[in-house]
C-alpha cells in the first residue's frame, strides 16, 4: 500500500480533512506561539 501525504477523496471527511488538519495544528501551535512570545520577551533582557 502506498499513500500520498494528502487525503483520498472518500476518506477525507473522516480521516484527513483539511478542517481536522488545521484544528490539530492550531491546537498545538497557539500555545507554542504564546510560549515563544514569552521567551522572546525574556531573551531581550540579555541585550538591555
Amino acid at each position: 500500500m502506498t499513500d500520498a501525504d494528502g487525503p483520498s477523496s472518500n476518506a477525507a471527511a473522516r480521516t484527513g480533512s483539511p478542517v481536522v488538519m488545521v484544528v490539530a495544528w492550531l491546537w498545538v501551535a497557539v500555545p507554542f506561539l504564546y510560549g515563544l512570545y514569552q521567551l522572546a520577551e525574556k531573551s531581550s533582557k540579555l541585550f538591555e
Partner: protein, 462 residues
C-alpha cells in the same frame, strides 16, 4: 479495551500522516511542563515551610520515575499501541497534578511528592516514548525529523508552562489555596490538551509507505538495517551500550550548563568591566532553552541527510571543542560565551532527538520504542552526574577563594573528557550482528491489502 486497542488505531486509506506530529506534540508539550517545575519551588517552600531541597524532590522523583517507567513500560507501549500509551500518559500526568493539588490543600508534602513525582512521573515516561515508534513508522523517509518534532515538544513544553504557571499563581495566589487551585487547573487543562493525541493518533497499516518512497538498502549506509531486533536482544548487543554511553556523555555535558546557567554566566563575567546582571542572566537562560528546543528539530532533521553517526560526531566532537574554547577564552567575550553555550545546548537537545532514529537504524522499527525506553536510563544517570560535577566543583573552587571562570575551568575540562569518551563510543558503533535479528522482518516490503476492518499486524507485533 475497545477504543484504546491497537487494532482500533490502524489508519484507513487516505489518512494524512501530517496529523500525527500534532498528536505527538499534544503529549510532549504537556509533559514538557516538568522542566518548568522551578516556578512552583519558592511558593511551595514558603507555603509548606519546606527547604529548597525538599521543593525539588517532586521533580527529581518525576524524572527518576520517567526513566523507570520508560525502561520497564516500553515493551507494553509497543504491544498496546500509541493510543493506549497516550491515554495512560494523560491519566497519570493529569492525576499527578490532582493528587498534588490535594496534597497542597491539606498541607501534606508527601502527597505532593507522590502525586507529581510518582503518579505524574509515570505519565512523563509513558508519554515520552508513546509517539516515537509511531512517528518513525509514518515517516520512514524522515525519521530524524519526525522524532525531532516530538522531542522538540518536550523542550517546548517548559516554554509554555513557565509563563502560564506564573500567571496562574499570580491570579490564584501563591499560598496553599492558590497553589492547589493552580495544580487543579493544570491537571484539567492538560487532560483536555492531551486528548487530541488520544483521539487522533493512528498507526499505519502493515506495509504502508509514503508515495514515491522505497526503502533504501544501499551499501553506502551500512548502519541502516532493514532487519529487526527485539528489545530483549537489543540490550545484549554492544551497540545498545555504546549508544547508552554516547547519550549519557552528551546529556551530562549539556545538563551541567543547563541547570546552572544563570549563576554561571554571572560568575563568569563577575570580575570584568561588563558584569552580567541577574535580569540579563534570565534572558540567557531563555536563549539556552530556545537553543535546546531548536537543536532537537534542526539537528535531528539534518541527521536524515548526513547520517546518525556523523551527526553524533558533530555533537560530541564540536561540543568538546566548544568547551575547550570556553576554557581558553575565559571571560574575554560575553558574545562568544553565549554563542558557544547555545551551540552546546543545541547539541544536547539534538542528542535526545536523534537517538530514536539512531536506534531505528541499528535495530529496526519492530520494538524501537521499548529499546528507546531502556536507553533513557542514561538520562537518569546523566541527570545526576552533570549537575553533581558542575555544582560540587564550583562549590569547592568557591571555598578555595576562586572567582570568575576559574570556578568552572576544571568541570569544563571534565566535560571535554566525557565528550571524548562519547566520541570514541560512537566511533565503535558497528552494524548489529545478524544473530540478534528477528527471524522474520517485521516490516515487510511487499504491499499488504489495506483492510480497514481487520488487524493486518502479525501476531508478534500486536
Amino acid at each position: 479495551m475497545g477504543f484504546l486497542d491497537r487494532s482500533r488505531t490502524i489508519a484507513g486509506a487516505g489518512w494524512n500522516r501530517w496529523l500525527i506530529p500534532p498528536t505527538a506534540l499534544a503529549i510532549h508539550f504537556s509533559i514538557g511542563q516538568a522542566y518548568a517545575w522551578s516556578v512552583f519551588k519558592i511558593p511551595l517552600e514558603d507555603s509548606l515551610d519546606i527547604s529548597g531541597t525538599a521543593s525539588a524532590l517532586p521533580f527529581q522523583i518525576g524524572i527518576l520515575v520517567l526513566g523507570l517507567s520508560a525502561a520497564f513500560g516500553g515493551t507494553l507501549v509497543e504491544k498496546k499501541g500509541p493510543r493506549w500509551a497516550m491515554f495512560v500518559a494523560l491519566v497519570a500526568f493529569s492525576s499527578g497534578f490532582l493528587v498534588a493539588a490535594l496534597g497542597v490543600a491539606t498541607r501534606n508534602y508527601w502527597l505532593v511528592v507522590l502525586g507529581y513525582g510518582g503518579v505524574g512521573g509515570v505519565g512523563l515516561g509513558i508519554g515520552y516514548i508513546a509517539p516515537v515508534s509511531t512517528l518513525m513508522k509514518w515517516f520512514p523517509d524522515r525519521p530524524g525529523m519526525a522524532t525531532g518534532t516530538a522531542i522538540m515538544g518536550f523542550g517546548g513544553g517548559a516554554l509554555i508552562a513557565s509563563p502560564w504557571s506564573t500567571e496562574m499563581l499570580k491570579a490564584f495566589g501563591d499560598d496553599t489555596g492558590g497553589i492547589a487551585t493552580t495544580f487543579l487547573v493544570h491537571g484539567l487543562v492538560y487532560a483536555v490538551f492531551m486528548s487530541l493525541g488520544v483521539v487522533l493518533v493512528r498507526v499505519p497499516p502493515e506495509g504502508w509507505r509514503p508515495a514515491g518512497w522505497t526503502p533504501r538498502v544501499d551499501a553506502g549506509k551500512p548502519l541502516v538495517t532493514t532487519a529487526n531486533v527485539s528489545a530483549r536482544n537489543a540490550v545484549r548487543t554492544p551497540q545498545f551500550w555504546l549508544l547508552w554511553v554516547v547519550l549519557c556523555m552528551n546529556v551530562t555535558a549539556g545538563i551541567g550548563i543547563l541547570e546552572k546557567a544563570a549563576p554561571m554566566i554571572q560568575d563568569f563575567f563577575h570580575d570584568t568591566a561588563s558584569p552580567v546582571s541577574a535580569s540579563a542572566a534570565t534572558g540567557f537562560v531563555a536563549l539556552l532553552s530556545l537553543a535546546n528546543m531548536a537543536g532537537r528539530f534542526v539537528w535531528s532533521s539534518v541527521s536524515d541527510v548526513v547520517g546518525r553517526k556523523n551527526i553524533y560526531r558533530l555533537y560530541l566532537g564540536a561540543g568538546a571543542l566548544l568547551y575547550l574554547t570556553l576554557m581558553l577564552e575565559k571571560d574575554s567575550s560575553t558574545a562568544l560565551f553565549v554563542v558557544s553555550t547555545m551551540v552546546i545546548l543545541s547539541f544536547y537537545g539534538g542528542g535526545f532527538a536523534t537517538v530514536p532514529a539512531y536506534l531505528k537504524d541499528l535495530f529496526g522499527t519492530y520494538q524501537v520504542g521499548a529499546i528507546h525506553g531502556r536507553l533513557l536510563t542514561a538520562w537518569s544517570v546523566a541527570g545526576v552526574a552533570g549537575p553533581l560535577i558542575v555544582d560540587s566543583i564550583a562549590d569547592s573552587a568557591h571555598e578555595d577563594g576562586r572567582t570568575g571562570p576559574a570556578l568552572y575551568t576544571f568541570s569544563f575540562s571534565l566535560m571535554v573528557g566525557l565528550l571524548v569518551i562519547g566520541f570514541i563510543a560512537n566511533e565503535l558503533v558497528r552494524p548489529v550482528n545478524p544473530k540478534f535479528h528477528e527471524s522474520e522482518p517485521a516490516d515487510r516490503e511487499e504491499p499488504a491489502p489495506p483492510e480497514e476492518t481487520s488487524d493486518p499486524l502479525p501476531a508478534e507485533r500486536r
